[in-house]
Symmetry: C2
């Protein structure tokens, strides 16, 4: 007697890193992030429909491992993601991630995908989407402080969604700036490599901060931020990790994803717990204003929220269903009689 073969419902579509890169490169990172931003925008606009909870974090001496679940009435999604700043030294990445999308109706997973590359894309797509609502009209120049793994994705997304084509780069490690400048020059950006954060901020309408050190740093000081700027603050994303001087926050109108999480993890952990912030979903739904004047300083205090990952999972799942390259995993047991799990095991002998 031969072992029973798993049936169709037992196979789970799996997008490997290679297949994710193939999926992105087939259409180009810019188009991928533009379409993904459309999914994120659609999900932000129906924000009240989601089952939301702060991420579930397990902290250790050297880092954190987090599960980020959310659900609407049709799908459940979660992301596993770690953050280990010391990993770089040992040749590992600071952040790796994968995610699962499931059917709420029967609880079966419908997609498993790498999310290390996908998270980089969704983070940049979210930033640029927010920039579309908050950055000054006609912005063409962006300062980028912190030129690590996220830098190029941010630049490309901001060009695609906001029209940025000039970049002023700075990193405490000149090698990181060299790497980003090389990659982005090949993408057709006009680039200025700067030797200080202060000089990097000159003449830019948008300032992106994306540094990795887990500490209360001061990447931007008050004198570096002029009127009318949009600040896209990516790096301050866990307790004890911030990038901006408090005085900047006091001069800015602050926009956040999910206040319950941002008040713990974002730049605003430096402020009183009732400091006014605007929820981005309300801006996108037309229920709250975005940028109101040329002189206003807007700040996106980004920490990353589960709904952005949910949108990314939905988008990749749609592409897989439309034929994007993927493998199929035998991860879900499927006995002929669901009550006869033991019989399935016996017949497999």
């Amino acid at each position: 007697m031969t072992a029973p073969k798993p049936s169709e419902i037992a196979f789970l579509p799996f997008v490997s890193v290679q297949n994710m890169m193939r999926m992105v490169n087939t259409m180009g990172a810019a188009a991928f992030m533009r379409d993904l931003a459309g999914y994120i925008e659609a999900d932000f606009r129906r924000w009240p429909e989601f089952d939301k909870t702060p991420r579930v974090a397990s902290h250790s001496q050297d880092g954190v491992i987090e599960l980020m679940p959310t659900a609407d009435s049709e799908n459940y999604g979660f992301k596993y993601v770690n953050g280990h700043p010391k990993n770089l030294r040992d040749g590992f990445q600071t952040v790796t991630a994968f995610g699962v999308l499931s059917s709420v109706a029967n609880g079966y997973p419908v997609l498993l995908t790498e999310m290390t590359v996908l998270t980089a894309l969704r983070t940049a797509a979210t930033s640029a989407l927010v920039g579309k609502y908050l950055a000054p009209k006609g912005s063409d120049t962006m300062t980028m402080i912190g030129n690590g793994a996220q830098c190029e994705f941010q630049a490309i997304a901001f060009r695609e969604l906001c029209g940025v084509n000039r970049l002023r780069l700075y990193d405490v490690d000149p090698k990181a700036t060299e790497k980003a400048a090389r990659n982005l020059a090949a993408q057709g950006f006009e680039i200025v490599k700067c030797t200080s954060a202060e000089s990097a901020t000159e003449g830019a309408q948008i300032v992106t901060t994306c540094t990795a050190d887990k500490q209360n740093a001061t990447v931007l000081t008050d004198n570096m931020v002029g009127a009318g700027i949009h600040i896209n603050a990516i790096g301050g994303d866990c307790p004890g990790k911030t990038e901006l001087h408090r005085d900047i926050l006091m001069r800015s109108d602050i926009f956040v994803e999910y206040p319950e999480q941002t008040r713990i993890e974002g730049e605003i952990q430096q402020l009183a717990p009732d400091h006014p912030v605007t929820e981005l979903w309300k801006v996108m739904a037309g229920d709250a204003p975005g940028r109101r004047s040329d002189r206003q300083i807007t700040l996106f205090d980004s920490v990353g929220f589960a709904i952005e990952d949910f949108s990314a999972l939905r988008y990749v799942h749609a592409k897989v269903r439309a034929g994007a390259p993927h493998d199929r995993l035998d991860m879900l047991a499927d006995p002929d009689d669901p009550r006869d799990l033991f019989g399935m095991l016996e017949r497999a002998r």
Copy 2:
């Protein structure tokens, strides 16, 4: 230029359903559960070392999807598991599961495995391990009320760890009893098929209840439980789902995995929140008594806790490292320079 191949650290060992069944069948389910019970016992004895949290549940109309994380200083593990009672009608399983074990030091996953089969094995291994501490010495007869997917695993584990070889089976659906009786007769058990729960409890030292209906049911009533019995109550495992009449609980000494979770999900949701219970890890560590007399009624109010899944993940990971069959997934991006994720994407074109 060819696409770069993922390096060793980018590959994640994956145990499919087929490979899990192969792993179990190579040594036999009884030996697998005996060894697994050893891992569970070792982890229960060092209970205070674990980072514990109640599971993170997402409830919907037809079921629930849960994430169950836990960690010690070396490993982090979590299980994804759903519970959808209506699935049976549509030919899907009530419960499917998978799990991940990771390194706390760098956050990288080290194992992805199916856990539908593995959860059945760890649940039975835990019950029988607890039976070793609480069931009357010389127990040879077990009542089994509810003859679904978990039934055979329970019987085999109780024979391996406690010496049970006579079974009295009852299910509201005679077809379920037929299925279990057929499977278990082939395993050499002496079997009596019973036509009522009451007759099923006659002459047994151990009573296992394992039914699936999501309601406050009364599978056992007070008159059916005599002195000296050990009750292994598996099925009452979420809010609004219980199996035992409250009067039985009042006559029993109650043993639980993790009180914070059991008081919400277990049989004791029927009792006052300060009703005395004994934590099983203390019994296994020698810090609290197990069975104290021949007349005592002991009750294991089982709901399943993350540490049992952690033990199962550790056990399977040890077997994979020792050469057990598995696949390798390209799930973790591994750029040559961890800061150059974009360069990796570009070189893959």
